[in-house]
């Protein structure tokens, strides 16, 4: 209920981060989603990740499309600018915003209807362009606001609440993201904060197109026994390949654990990701291996989660365009307008 304001008072001993903010400073309005909705857990994970990273909230811009998932930016980071755009078109609005100011952190929140159906094209192209962003799809396989129609990520053979079977092949957003050139690709589950929060932190730190597909059960329309996106089903079939710790700072790090179970991945900017490996031999830096593994486990009916692909040499859209370091929205007349003397030369060349 957005008309209910949250009380500003909080416990005086709430832990503070480096900026002196508490977790409460990263919250937004009270959620209007259904009680138990996976999306609220994801909002909680975003809040936790931003708190732990000590991000100044106003340096984050949060953008979304239309749908239940796209409502959630109201419920986290109340001190950030937000933009609830049109259905399926968040990626282009985010791309434009990023072009204007490369210094902010861009968080795009979308759903499976928003990104896999009406917005599949924009999803694909903003990934291709390497927009520096965190793109989270809150994936529940169903249209919630319009009351329970299948979305394009619903598995073939899974049934709706009314008992109708889905005949069409599902779109696997994670495989698509890898194929399209995302440089950070992960899948997680709204019910597994231990896995999700570090993934969001790592995605924020990553410079390039970071994509997280987060299975997020819809308690109202897709949490029944014949669903493959219910809490029970995901818990039973979740095959986590790894868990992540984000190591802040750029200092050289050495491992003390036994090799094979923990791996340090050094990124382009010198930072490290510490992977606790659950699937022996899974190499998240190999695109081909990631794609093979995803297809293989999908055939076996399992949902692979964790950090699935990371390009350590990632570049972003601004690197490719060669834009100046100063945000374009901070340039003024002196940098932008050539003036009358230059125009006189143009005129002379046109006679």
């Amino acid at each position: 209920m957005t008309y209910l304001t949250k009380p500003k008072l909080h416990h005086p001993k709430l832990p503070q981060n480096e900026l002196g903010f508490t977790r409460r400073d990263y919250e937004g309005a009270v959620s209007t989603l259904c009680a138990g909705c996976g999306h609220d857990s994801i909002s909680g994970a975003i809040i936790q990740a931003c708190f732990e990273l000590s991000l100044p909230p106003h340096r984050v811009a949060k953008l979304s499309g239309i749908g239940c998932s796209s409502k959630t930016p109201t419920y986290f980071l109340g001190a950030s600018h937000g933009f609830n755009s049109v259905h399926g078109r968040m990626p282009s609005v985010l791309t434009g915003a990023n072009l204007a100011n490369r210094e902010l952190i861009y968080m795009g929140v979308s759903g499976d209807g928003d990104s896999a159906s009406i917005g599949l094209g924009q999803f694909a192209h903003c990934i291709r362009r390497g927009v520096n962003m965190v793109y989270i799809v809150e994936n529940n396989g169903v249209y919630g606001l319009t009351k329970g129609q299948f979305s394009a990520t619903a598995d073939k053979g899974s049934k709706s609440k009314k008992g109708v079977g889905n005949q069409d092949s599902p779109i696997d957003m994670v495989s698509m993201a890898v194929l399209l050139g995302a440089t950070f690709v992960a899948r997680s589950f709204s019910g597994d904060k231990e896995q999700l929060v570090p993934l969001i932190k790592a995605a924020i730190e990553h410079r390039g197109a970071a994509f997280i597909d987060c299975i997020s059960p819809c308690v109202a329309f897709n949490n029944h026994p014949d669903s493959t996106k219910s809490y029970d089903y995901v818990r039973a079939h979740n095959e986590a390949v790894n868990y992540l710790d984000v190591i802040e700072g750029r200092d050289e790090i050495t491992l003390d654990q036994a090799p094979g179970t923990v791996e340090l991945v050094r990124q382009h900017d010198g930072s490290y990701l510490k992977l606790r490996k659950l699937a022996a031999g899974y190499d998240p830096t190999s695109k081909i291996a990631a794609m093979n593994y995803l297809q293989e486990r999908h055939e076996a009916g399992e949902i692979v989660t964790g950090l699935l692909y990371l390009d350590r040499e990632a570049e972003d859209m601004h690197d490719r365009l060669g834009t100046v370091p100063t945000p374009l929205n901070a340039l003024g007349e002196a940098e932008l307008c050539p003036g009358s003397a230059a125009l006189a030369k143009v005129n002379a060349s046109l006679r």
Binding site: T2, P56, P57, H58, R59, A61, L63, P73, T74, G78, A79, S80, H81, G82, F83, N84, S85, V86, R89, P91, S92, V93, L94, T95, G96, A97, N98, L99, A100, N101, E103, L104, G121, Q122, A124, H125, R129, H318, L321, G322, T323, V324, P325, L328, N329, L331, G332, E333, E335, L336, C337, P338, G339, S340, A342, L343, V346, N347, L350, R351
Partner: protein, 612 residues
């Protein structure tokens, strides 16, 4: 013997070519040589939606009197395309001239008895001199330019200067082009002496005017107006606008280390283009897209978002003939209504109507000020005729004291000082609220932008009174826009007149020429060139101060007239439509005919007609 048209500095030449044969640069060279001799020209490409092989025409009106509209009719046809021969020959005015490649003998039935035929064995000449097929093709074009220069009296030194300028930096191409030019000239001097009665004589009628395309001028105007983000999707006839912006940014906005003070994205479609523009403008950059009618159709939903959420956006629409794919390479003014009321729900948008490339430059820069000031989409409505043809126009002007008007944006300091911030609060009673850029201040000024209804503090609401309050403020804002957009330009007839003419955009030169002719026939008309929507009071006053007003436009459905009736509460009986919409640019001849016919119905025969 057929009669011979005799004219100096006042005739029309048309080149019939095959697309992709390299004729465009030769024809342009030919056209510019008149300008160098101080004689104004109006040149137009008439081309198909095709890369190679289909017919293409280039028309040059030589006009010392400075009539820059299309005249209609052809005095000299340079027929280089066998495919279109019959149609091309048929188009020549009686007594006019046909210049053709006489290498292959044609039967008498392929000609007309009432025209003068000038044959030159072009293919035989090039085949003798060149062996490479591409060279044969390219130099054939230059050879006919040389021959025409001789026939018409163009100073060959001016053509040579233009050749040298064109190949500057590729100097080894200059001598062979000179050679071809001279081959053409020499042949014509020897064999075709006096064959054409059309002559050019050096004059001083060009002044300091420049010769450029509207799309090029618009792209440069966007640079001067401070645009840093361009997102676009290729579509004829707007593509060259985005390409011009790219070219000018490369020249004026590149740091010594190669870094760019701009970002250009060729998007996946028009929806993404306008989405990026809105995202960038929301975040404080000046952003635009360039498109044509089909793109405007696709952008509708986003345009409504920008209107309702109040995000600036500049949209260049280089109009082409619709509906649907229509005639992609033909001109029209047919996107007036779809632009004025773009998107579902109640919307109204600011439109600018430049008349030529000079005004394209000016309005392009102004559009960014207006979009920021009004926090709303602004359309610059060019058309193919202005956009893709080089026009002779006044030189571009810029005042170095001019500053970008970024509109009402609260700075970090103003927020720090504790100013009350409500994103949709009408503080100044002009309907324009204040906005903040994302990231401006650590604790103040953030708000949620949305396409859903909201209250004055940007909080979601479906309360009727809050919704109505917001919609009424948007109307007040549109009222404010009336005083900010370019004013109409009025020109009154020498004798007081009760009849007026309203026109806009690329129709301007044809109107000026038509008014001279109609005036000399005793049909006195006051004219008003509308330059923007919303219409200022001057537009409505002009209509109300005349008994009848002709509204001249290049579309079928009288779109500007509809807008005038709707927005100005005008009695439709006062307005008479003159509509030209076959895809070719409107001509003075057409306007003169249409207006005089209706004038006669309204007032009887004009007073001077009998004397003519």
């Amino acid at each position: 013997m057929p009669a011979r048209l005799e004219a100096t500095n006042d005739f029309v030449i048309k080149f019939a070519n095959v697309n992709g044969s390299g004729s465009a640069s030769a024809n342009r060279l030919f056209a510019r040589s008149f300008v160098r001799m101080g004689v104004p020209i109006a040149s137009r490409n008439i081309f198909p939606s095709n890369i190679q092989g289909l017919p293409t025409w280039y028309e040059v009106r030589v006009t010392e009197a400075g009539h820059l509209g299309r005249r209609g009719g052809v005095d000299l046809m340079v027929a280089m395309n066998p495919q279109t021969w019959d149609k091309d020959v048929a188009e020549i005015e009686p007594g006019g001239y046909l210049f053709y490649d006489s290498t292959r003998v044609l039967p008498q039935s392929k000609f007309r008895p009432d025209i003068n035929v000038v044959g030159m064995p072009l293919t035989a000449i090039v085949n003798e001199r060149y062996s490479d097929p591409r060279q044969r093709q390219l130099f054939k074009n230059i050879i006919y330019v040389g021959a025409l220069a001789s026939l018409l009296g163009i100073e060959i030194a001016e053509v040579e200067k233009l050749v040298a300028e064109q190949f500057r930096g590729k100097d080894k191409l200059i001598p062979p082009n000179y050679e071809a030019l001279h081959m053409g000239r020499d042949y014509a001097e020897t064999h075709l002496e006096g064959a054409v009665g059309l002559k050019v004589r050096r004059a001083d009628a060009v002044g300091d005017r420049i010769f450029l395309e509207g799309n090029d001028a618009s792209g440069l105007g966007a640079v001067y107006g401070g645009a840093t983000v361009c997102a676009w999707y290729p579509i004829t006839p707007s593509t060259s606008l985005a390409e011009a912006f790219t070219k000018h940014c490369g020249r004026f906005r590149t740091d010594p280390d190669g870094k760019q003070r701009f970002a250009i994205i060729q998007a996946e479609d028009e929806l993404a283009s306008i989405g990026m523009v809105i995202g960038a403008a929301w975040n404080g950059a000046r952003a635009f897209t360039a498109t044509s009618g089909p793109g405007i159709s696709l952008m509708q939903e986003f345009i409504g978002l920008a209107y309702f959420a109040e995000v600036p956006a500049v949209i260049f629409d280089v109009q082409r003939a619709g509906p649907s794919t229509g005639m992609p390479t033909r001109t029209q003014q047919c996107d007036i209504l779809i632009s004025a009321y773009a998107s579902h729900g109640d919307t109204k948008h600011v439109l600018l109507f430049p008349e030529d490339p000079h005004e394209c430059f000016e309005f392009a820069a102004t559009a960014f000020d207006l979009a920021d000031r009004l926090q709303t989409p602004v359309f610059v409505l060019l058309d193919l005729d202005i956009g893709m043809n080089e026009w002779l126009c006044e030189p571009l002007k810029w005042d170095d004291a001019r500053r970008f008007d970024r509109g009402k944006v609260l700075t970090a300091a103003e927020l720090e000082a504790g100013r009350d911030f409500g994103r949709y609060l009408d503080v100044d009673n002009d309907g324009i609220p204040y906005r903040t850029y994302p990231g401006a201040h650590p604790t103040r000024g953030s708000f949620f932008t949305r396409g859903t209804s909201r209250d004055r503090y940007a909080r979601y609401t479906e309360e009727g009174p809050a919704y109505v309050d917001n919609m009424q403020r948007l109307l007040r804002k549109f009222e404010t826009a009336k005083s900010l957009v370019p004013k109409p330009i009025r020109h009154d007839a020498e004798n007081a007149s009760r009849t007026g003419v309203i026109y806009f955009g690329s129709t301007a030169p044809a109107i000026r020429e038509a008014m001279e002719a109609l005036g000399s026939r005793g049909i006195d008309l006051d004219t008003l060139r509308v330059r923007a929507f919303p219409f200022s009071d001057d537009v409505i006053d002009f209509i109300l101060s005349h008994d009848q007003v002709f509204v001249v436009e290049q579309n079928r459905d009288a779109q500007l007239k509809t807008l005038l009736i709707n927005e100005g509460a005008i009695d439709p009986a006062r307005l008479i439509s003159v509509l030209h919409y076959d895809g070719t640019p409107i001509t003075a001849r057409f306007i003169i005919d249409e207006v005089s016919r209706r004038w006669a119905l309204l007032h009887g025969a004009p007073r001077k007609e009998a004397a003519e």
